[in-house]
Symmetry: C2
Subunit: 301 residues, 2 copies
Amino acid sequence: MKHSLDKSHYYYAMSKDNEAALTVAMGDTVEIETYDCFQGQITSAETVLDALDWDQINPATGPIHVEGIKAGDVLKVTIDDIALDSSGVMLTGPGLGIMGESLEHMEAKMFDVDTAGGRVSFNGLELPLNPMIGVIGVAPENIPVNNGTPERHGGNMDSKKITTGAELYLPVFHDGALFGLGDVHAKMGDGEISVSGLEIGAKITVTLDKAANLSTQHPVVIDQDGIHMMVSDKSLDTAVEASVKQMIALLHPYTGLTLSEMTMLMSLVGETQINQVVDPLKTARFFVPRHVLEHFNISFN
Amino acid sequence: MKHSLDKSHYYYAMSKDNEAALTVAMGDTVEIETYDCFQGQITSAETVLDALDWDQINPATGPIHVEGIKAGDVLKVTIDDIALDSSGVMLTGPGLGIMGESLEHMEAKMFDVDTAGGRVSFNGLELPLNPMIGVIGVAPENIPVNNGTPERHGGNMDSKKITTGAELYLPVFHDGALFGLGDVHAKMGDGEISVSGLEIGAKITVTLDKAANLSTQHPVVIDQDGIHMMVSDKSLDTAVEASVKQMIALLHPYTGLTLSEMTMLMSLVGETQINQVVDPLKTARFFVPRHVLEHFNISFN
């Protein structure tokens, strides 16, 4: 069944105590409208940024209760489509991102986004878009988590890999999952070094289902390239290590290899990568290519 | 002029006090023979690994004195060719790499490498090779640096990007540079999570010259894809931040953008990436694609 949910149903923190805005069955599809991460507060480069309400940041649309999914299950979110709005915004300023200590005042920059051509102009430099969903997740296990922060429940993972065609797997901590998303970017590089991608409103279509046979404690993305394990931590060193260990724990049982052999294989074919380094927790991802999964007949469908 | 240097000229630490094994002119080409990182000590999976001499690790061949290059210059190393030996080795064990705490004994695994086909078999799984140079650098500024460690002078950066066709730029700290290399891998993924790639001996051909107009405090690689800034640090968080700042310092003057705009552009097109997370210092790289350099007419040749 196909549902839709408009952006008037927004919230700033994922929590088991949020009331569902919509209830769907497993296997249903939902078109979800989202604000940009500033909830539309920046309307021109001249917007008075000092007046920005920082409590109105990273709204997610939802939450959506998925009937029949239970705590301990894994939610499979298939990203069917991301339809971008036609204009977006970036922001930099003191204290924001890696260059924050060198910047003297807040600056916004507006962009007309050529959604049909898949391009945007940056002062005349034509750049290809890579639409992606920044905030996406379920109700966390314990206390509410602000949508600015990524964690095991998803949240602000800011991953280029969460895009059309990808399947995102999220551990479920509470019956019904309470799924939501927002903070779409028309374009972003790994790291999101300024703390802002090309922020934009969108309509996202997702299909929500229970994962058939994938068990994970952290978000996992499967796409045409392969499989990505995403772990967030204050320290990127810790996040990278944990992403490798979690991936080996997930795949090793399917391989028939000794742990030494599995470790060697992952050193040859696995890749330590980065989603973002600017949110309160940083997010590492560990990638293994599809041909390796296919060789060992590993399929999570 | 074309020179060659055989692997009998090896050393375990880069140092201003090393005596040159060869002197070449700027613009000369050298074919350099290298041991694998274990200096050939592992000859079969049954080699008694407890008897491995850990003082004979990561030999570099050299050093090569480049006539006319001065402290304060930048050395341009063009990787013309990497000709691999036909067999290689991997090693895992307690205390090594990310999985070291879960491994109970040292294990080695030998590989026949299909250099003509560019492939290797891992227990029947066919993998494409990606030959690369693990250790490559010049004499560091101050005290000697063991070849196991990466730093501003290069050293054990373990980067997939240091491969045939790439140009590596290294800051020069002492007249003549005292360049050397070793620790070739037939294959490795970003991270080198087991602490070992597919370790192999090789013959590498490089051309050594003075950089025309690139000034840098850290190693830089330019290849067909774009430009990579490499920074090593105990903390990956620090290394990533520094790699971004160093790249912005290098490119910003060519762009005509404000620093805020440059930061935004780097957030859209730049990518925080990882060479390795298992050496005494970890190495981050920040990547900017070639089409961005071309738009701003940035050329370092």
